[in-house]
Subunit: 344 residues, 2 copies
């Protein structure tokens, strides 16, 4: 048996027509006669022909690939975003190629080169840094790139984000509404735009109710559970300086702070209130269920791919959108980790 894979030429020979007719029968059936179409169909069935996508793409000068740059594919945070992107892309006939950059600028540059070398038609950035080759690109021709998750200040590329500042503002105000005045914030890494925006919203909320900002109440974490535990120990150890509420920039860190709080015998929310960020699936099942800012991650992915397909001229499977950065709405999910400020 060990036959070679059938090419369009085999089909043509088998059908007794030219390769052009075969190609047309497949892609422009209306310009091909009924009889020829049928002959081609049987020939395809007989030979088991499948078009060589690489040859096709070479001819059409496209790859059908959308490159997705992720800082760490091992981070479950991206799963749902990915899912939204993949869904839209595959509906539009694109494949999603994942580039795990490990936050390494070299790897980012390598992947960005895929655009030039025709390995990818377009790119979505899930990390908030513009790969070097793109940053140097001429300003007149914007590359087919969309930025998601993290905005890049001063970058005109289509962007989809949540309003981190406003979300943090609302989360913090939820705590002030409960009467809290000593409110700590466990933030993300300092070089991160998300961190900046969330800290800003937190400060704005405090200022809006006349609470003076206390730098000692801001702890720099890295979004992980472990850093949350460290934050909790640092912030809650001393009963004299202990805040009555902690707003965390991730659910993981919120969980960590709760772990630390329990170590000190503190009750949540009677002794200290905790707010998280993201609304990961486990936030609702934790003890206590965690009040948190829900980030619509699948929506975020869907919007990103929509923006990109717009840019590519393909028809977008999701509802259309207007100019400017797209902001997908967040929602404060109030559960049992927050409550009134304790007396005294």
């Amino acid at each position: 048996m060990n036959e070679k894979i059938a090419t369009i030429e085999d089909v043509a020979r088998h059908a007794g027509v030219s390769i052009a007719t075969v190609s047309r029968a497949l892609h422009k059936p209306d310009v091909v006669s009924e009889t020829a179409r049928e002959k081609v169909q049987t020939a395809i069935a007989a030979t088991g022909y499948t078009a060589n996508v690489m040859a096709r793409n070479l001819r059409l000068n496209r790859s059908g690939m959308i490159l997705l740059l992720v800082p760490d594919i091992g981070n479950p945070f991206f799963s749902a975003i990915l899912s939204g992107i993949e869904k839209g892309a595959s509906q539009a006939g694109y494949n999603v190629l994942i580039g795990d950059t490990q936050n390494d600028p070299d790897r980012e540059a390598t992947y960005a080169a895929y655009l030039r070398s025709n390995q990818a038609d377009a790119m979505i950035l899930l990390n908030g840094r513009l790969p070097a080759p793109l940053a140097n690109a001429p300003a007149n021709a914007t590359p087919p790139v969309v930025i998601a998750c993290e905005r890049i200040p001063g970058c005109a590329l289509p962007t989809v984000i949540i309003d981190n500042d406003e979300a943090s503002f609302i989360a913090t105000r939820h705590l002030t509404d409960f009467g809290h005045t000593r409110i700590a914030h466990v933030s993300g890494p300092s070089n991160n735009i998300l961190t900046t925006d969330r800290v800003a919203g937190y400060r704005r909320a405090l200022a809006s109710v006349g609470i003076q900002n206390d730098p000692a109440l801001i702890y720099r974490g890295d979004f992980s559970i472990d850093s949350g535990i460290a934050a909790g120990r640092a912030l809650l150890a001393d009963p004299k300086t202990r805040p009555t509420a902690v707003f965390c920039a991730s659910d993981g860190m919120a969980i960590g702070v709760i772990v630390a709080a329990k170590e000190y015998g503190l009750r949540i929310p009677q002794d200290v209130s905790i707010v998280g960020f993201d609304d990961i699936p486990h936030a609702a099942a934790y003890d206590p269920p965690i009040t948190t800012v829900r980030q619509p991650r699948r929506r975020l992915g869907e919007q990103a791919i929509t923006l990109l397909l717009d840019r590519l001229g393909a028809k977008a499977p999701f509802e259309n959108r207007e100019k400017g950065p797209v902001i997908v709405p967040t929602e404060l999910i109030i559960r049992q980790s927050t409550g009134p400020c304790p007396k005294g």
Copy 2:
């Protein structure tokens, strides 16, 4: 400056050599003279040439893609596996193309066709079903496919799995060692091979210490937190029939069972012991920290890609693979959700 992208021909012209020399300078530098090499290098720098990967792949009849079939990319369980695969693949110069099948046989078949149409050189299956085109493949030529996570009974393709039966055996024996005799099991969906294997291990463990199997103590979940809550409510509601320990086929379900247990005012592990499966990051930070079977997911991915690269490296397509499936070891992580069987 809106010039066209430079081709090898531009480089050749610029360097004053033939395109063959340019190609050789890049891929077989040793057969090219020093001077020519230099000329080519400067020409490349001057033109900003990047090889058109599509043309290259067409010529070489490879795609450089490894297709990864995942039942649901939105499921964080796969993140770490993915990460391991991606790492190995990119080290070997391959890209990873993710195919989200949604457990839909049609989508599986579509993706499997990528192998035929040269869109992918090889495939890794993370779902336990052989796509139709593969199942019908001639038996003499094994396709470059590796199965991970779930074994497919009667399938000779290279496979990497954990020993679910043995892992469940050990987890259950951990409970019997604590003196438990009424041990429930919250399993996965019934059509799943993982479920079968884990139930088998659970039963084997009970039998090994002379405990009779009680079908009422097996609850069918779907790995989710919610199904765990449902399981917990069903199993723990009645104090008369209540088991003193529950072995869950996923950490999510273990968390759900704990949530339900707390609803009934039961203390973990004093009143009821809980064992999970997977060791997701949140298992250690839960209250109480959950005893669970650690599944080395990154290792699993690494092994899968290793197997595949082996297969691709072995030029002989008819060479038969060695022996049975690769089994990556699991580990029972004992935390605070398990303890001695309560008296009376």
